[in-house]
């Protein structure tokens, strides 16, 4: 069990090292030329005005809120999906109630217009 996750950890570390390897080769052999225009942010050929780190559409925030709600729901569904065959009709009814409540939440968010892109 622990060995399984050892593999995952080793995969992560080796993956980072292997991804750095070509970058190291580039660092060794790539040409370097410094002039101010090259380091400008690309903005379709005109001199960029202002920074990109500014306020952005609140819509993205609403979708992420709705996502958190349903993602937590999905996490509860995983263990249930494995064992519900043994637990029988009771477990199914329980989950039906849970899903029904969340479905009502989805309908509510829909009616309130949280899912509309403006």
């Amino acid at each position: 069990m622990l060995v399984d996750w050892l593999y995952v950890a080793v995969f992560g570390v080796v993956g980072v090292l292997l991804a750095i390897l070509p970058l190291a080769i580039v660092w060794l052999i790539s040409p370097r030329g410094e002039y101010p225009q090259k380091l400008l942010t690309y903005e379709s050929g005109v001199v960029p005005f202002g920074q990109a780190w500014s306020q952005f559409n609140v819509r993205y925030y609403l979708f992420s809120l709705a996502f958190v709600l349903f993602d937590v729901e999905v996490i509860y569904l995983y263990p249930w999906a494995i064992v519900f065959k043994e637990l029988g009709a009771f477990a199914f009814t329980e989950m039906f109630v849970f899903l029904a409540i969340l479905f009502i939440a989805l309908v509510y968010a829909w009616r309130k217009g949280a899912l509309e892109w403006v």
Binding site: V26, R32, T41, Y42, W53, D71, L77, G88, L115
Partner: protein, 332 residues
């Protein structure tokens, strides 16, 4: 008095894990990225009545190798106003997150031995978690570039990926309910008689749509959207960093196709041919399907994209779980 020594078996496991990691990553770089890009160019050429790459190697098969060598010689440019540390780490996050999913993919069977790095007992959940890590890389890349196109691409990508993760999860849960396990090997074994694509056709369609969206393929390629956002989140990336983003994207696509095969198309099962060959035939058939769709359909608008996920796929996925649960409970 006990001494804190690492057991020999653990060192052996670390060596084995390192070797398999190098093997799997090399495999992904060659078969997912290089072959994937080549196939994409050939298939797009074929669909658009062109020839595609032809000159480097027989039928242009070495074109991607040449491109990689070219990219190795390019300078890594970091824009002056970018956040250097975050900017450099974004391509690494995307690549590693895409490759970590390969741990749980069963490539085939030799005798009784399943070709899998590690058969995690929460395999498909782990796979879904790793594939959603990609969004962190894309968002950091888009934000740290300090470029308006890149920021917009990154934000779109974040909202798209989180929206389609839910239907993807629902489709996986429907399959897990049928198989009674989250382990990829168990799921393939559960399809001994009938593939799940016939038992769960709706979940299959939902999974395929969500997989195309998760890998940013057309018609869901809004994060990149060449014609409006230049290249989206990787607009400022050059040379090898750009190549790492591409590697991550194609590795993710092959992983998604392999997972479609595992969940719905019976994994390595099939008559006559060896299991490994069957697995690759099915996986590349799904890859071909993704490419076919890409060169056939135009891009969706962002409101259409989010509507499809939240108002169509999400209720359908919930309904599918309820119907599956009802049928399985009644058939007990």
């Amino acid at each position: 008095m006990r001494e804190a020594v690492i057991p020999v078996s653990w060192i052996l496991e670390i060596v084995k894990a390192t070797l398999s990691a190098v093997a799997v990553f090399t495999f992904a770089a060659v078969f997912a990225a290089m072959l994937g890009v080549y196939l994409e160019r050939k298939i797009s050429g074929w669909i658009q009545a062109r020839v595609g790459p032809k000159h480097v190697g027989p039928q242009g098969i070495l074109q991607t190798v040449a491109d990689t060598i070219k990219l190795l010689q390019k300078e890594n440019i970091v824009p002056r106003h970018a956040d250097y540390l975050v900017f450099s780490s974004a391509p690494l996050i995307v690549t590693v997150a895409a490759l970590l999913g390969y741990v749980v993919i069963p490539w085939g069977k030799l005798g009784d031995w399943v070709l899998i790095v590690r058969d995690l007992n929460i395999g498909v959940l782990y796979f879904a978690a790793m594939s959603s890590l990609v969004v962190i890389g894309i968002l950091t890349g888009g934000w740290s570039s300090n470029n308006k196109y890149a920021l917009l691409g990154g934000l779109r990508s974040a909202s798209q990926l989180i929206s389609y993760e839910l239907p993807l999860g629902f489709a996986i849960i429907s399959v897990a309910m049928m198989a009674g396990s989250l382990s990829t090997v168990e799921i393939v074994n559960a399809q001994q008689d009938v593939w799940f694509v016939f038992k769960q056709p709706l979940a299959f369609l939902i999974f395929l749509t969500a997989a195309a969206a998760e890998t940013n393929r057309v018609p869901f390629d809004l994060p990149e959207a060449e014609s409006e956002l230049v290249a989206g989140y990787f607009a400022e990336y050059t040379g090898m960093r750009f190549a790492l983003f591409q590697l991550g994207e194609y590795a993710e696509m092959l992983a998604m196709a392999a997972m479609t095969t595992v969940l719905f198309l019976g994994g390595w099962r099939g008559p006559w041919l060896p299991p490994i060959l069957w697995f690759f035939i099915k996986t590349y058939a799904v890859v071909f399907f993704f490419m076919w769709v890409r060169w056939t359909y135009p891009r969706l608008r962002i409101d259409q994209l989010l509507n499809l996920s939240w108002k169509v796929l999400l209720p359908l996925g919930l309904l599918n779980i309820l119907v599956t649960g009802l049928v399985v409970t009644l058939a007990r």
